[in-house]
């Protein structure tokens, strides 16, 4: 079965969720993205993408207990589904295939 197509930010967030494991919730995911891509994505952009990935069946989520630090709101923790894991594997294989045969890149020597 072919996995749904995923975009660049979707792939990056899926990878962050895979790395963070049980700690994959909004603030941690944004922090991970900022460290690895050197870009501050807005909270709205991250949650819109997380929602889309959940709608595609690549992520699932659960709510934590309400926390005072969040103004009495719960954290929503995300985890990869089986389809999400497969999508990551396919993305990795596709990237390897695309990069295969490319010589080391760098300034040409005369």
């Amino acid at each position: 079965m072919t996995s749904p197509s995923i975009g660049s930010l979707e792939l990056t967030i899926l990878l962050a969720v895979a790395r963070l494991g049980d700690e994959a919730y909004g603030v941690a995911i944004r922090r991970d993205l900022a460290e690895r891509t050197a870009r501050e994505h807005s909270i709205g952009a991250v949650y819109t993408t997380l929602q889309r990935l959940e709608d595609k069946g690549l992520l699932r989520s659960r709510s934590s207990e309400p926390l005072p630090v969040r103004g009495g709101r719960s954290r929503r923790c995300f985890a990869l589904t089986g389809a999400g894991a497969r999508a990551l594997q396919e993305a990795r294989a596709q990237a390897a295939s695309v990069w295969a045969g490319v010589p080391p890149l760098g300034p040409k020597r005369a």
Binding site: G26, V27, R30, S42, I43, G44, A45, Y47, T48, Q51, S63, E65, P66, L67, P68, V69, R70, G71, G72, R73, S74, R75, R76
Partner: protein, 399 residues
């Protein structure tokens, strides 16, 4: 046994901590959800904002945290709006759709008002313009028909044509006939002649000709009779200057008291309905009223109904030709109004009704007849006595 009720996600857990963000109120969640936003999405975004604020306030202080909070709200707003629209489109209740449509309409209204305010705002003074009551425009300058001091009162416009405050305009006499000119633009014309006056407002300046032609008297045609549907009639106004000669330039203002009967397009009279009114002509210190009667066209003098609108018959007679017309029962006024281009004369003759005729004094003037026909069968004859006659026979009930 009593148990503590389970806390529902999305409900506040008592008071916020001291470092809680200033804007994160529960009403924000409720407001967004009421508009149709997904409750879980709103709670996630606002929860992350609150958590981020607390973390930053602890390390960088509340001011830095508030700045970050505000920036994140701005950056996330498009996503929240987009998500809300998509959510309402997919799963919204009719109430949510109505509320969201109302909000969008309100925002569109506010945006339109802002755009309109920007487009209609006044710019810096760009040019002067001559008021309509002062003559034909900047190329002909200003016509002054007053015998007493009068303000020139130029208009000041910006580049978009908006009228600006003109109280700061200053005036000075430059050349031509010597006339007193005050700094505020009051000129005094005691005789015929031309002068050049300079108007200044900041860097804006203009020289304009002031044509002095103080009026002694206004002259007109007398009462105007216009057929309903006839738009060829013009109002002629002339003036006599202080030196007794005809005025060459008139800066006159004309208005019709009852604009439901007729209006004016320049000097052209535009009849709208049958009736009587008055045109008021003003020029300089002079004022003149011209009665105006708009009449319906008829083919018979017998068509007049008691208390009905005035009627008019077009008359064309060769010299010596007689036309005999039956008149309606009642007390009537019949008036022959010669076309201005003809110098004809007519004579009334009556049969079967007591009538009092007021003959024409000179050809081209008006002839009047007052009749009191008590029974049908009365007639009025009209005879062209001096050349061909062309004009209107106006018929109305006597007051």
């Amino acid at each position: 046994m009593t148990s503590r009720p389970a806390h529902r996600p999305g409900r506040p857990l008592g008071r916020f901590s001291a470092a809680a963000p200033p804007h994160a109120r529960r009403s924000t969640d409720e407001w967004l959800v009421a508009l149709g936003a997904d409750a879980r999405f709103v709670a996630d975004v606002l929860g992350d904002l609150a958590e981020g604020y607390v973390a930053r306030a602890a390390t960088g202080g509340r001011f830095a945290a508030s700045c970050w909070y505000g920036g994140e709200v701005v950056r996330s707003t498009p996503h929240i709006v987009g998500h809300t629209l998509a959510n309402v489109a997919r799963r919204g209740t009719p109430g949510q759709r109505v509320r969201l449509a109302g909000l969008i309409a309100t925002l569109a209204l506010v945006a339109s008002a802002l755009v309109a305010a920007v487009l209609t705002r006044d710019g810096p003074p760009a040019r002067f313009a001559v008021n309509a009551g002062h003559g034909g425009g900047a190329d002909v300058g200003v016509v002054v028909n007053h015998r007493t001091p009068v303000r020139i009162a130029l208009q000041v416009l910006d580049s978009a044509g908006h009228q600006l405050d003109a109280t700061g305009v200053r005036y000075a006499w430059m050349s031509g006939m010597r006339i007193p000119v005050s700094a505020r633009g009051e000129v005094t014309c005691t005789r015929r002649g031309d002068a050049v006056v300079r108007a200044m407002l900041g860097a804006l300046a203009m020289e304009l000709a002031v044509h002095c032609e103080p009026l002694r008297k206004l002259l007109g045609d007398g009462a105007k009779y216009v057929l309903l549907g006839d738009t060829t009639q013009l109002l002629h106004v002339e003036g006599t200057a202080l030196d007794g000669r005809p005025a060459e330039r008139l800066a006159s203002r004309v208005r019709v008291l009852d604009r439901s009967i007729a209006t004016l397009a320049g000097a052209r009279i535009m009849p709208r309905r049958a009736g009587r009114t008055v045109m008021v002509v003003e020029a300089g210190n002079e004022r003149m009223t011209v009665p105006l009667m708009v009449v319906e066209r008829t083919r018979s003098l017998a068509a007049l109904a008691p208390d009905g609108h005035p009627l008019a018959l077009l008359v064309r007679l060769a010299m010596g030709e007689v036309v005999r017309l039956p008149v309606a029962v009642g007390h009537l006024w019949i008036e022959y109004v010669a076309e201005s281009s003809t110098a004809s004369a007519v004579y009334f003759d009556t049969d079967g009704a007591p009538c009092w005729a007021e003959p024409m004094a000179v050809p081209g003037a008006r002839a009047r007849l007052e009749c009191n026909a008590r029974a049908s069968g009365a007639t009025v004859a009209l005879v062209a006595t001096e050349g061909a006659a062309a004009g209107l026979l106006v018929l109305r009930s006597a007051p």
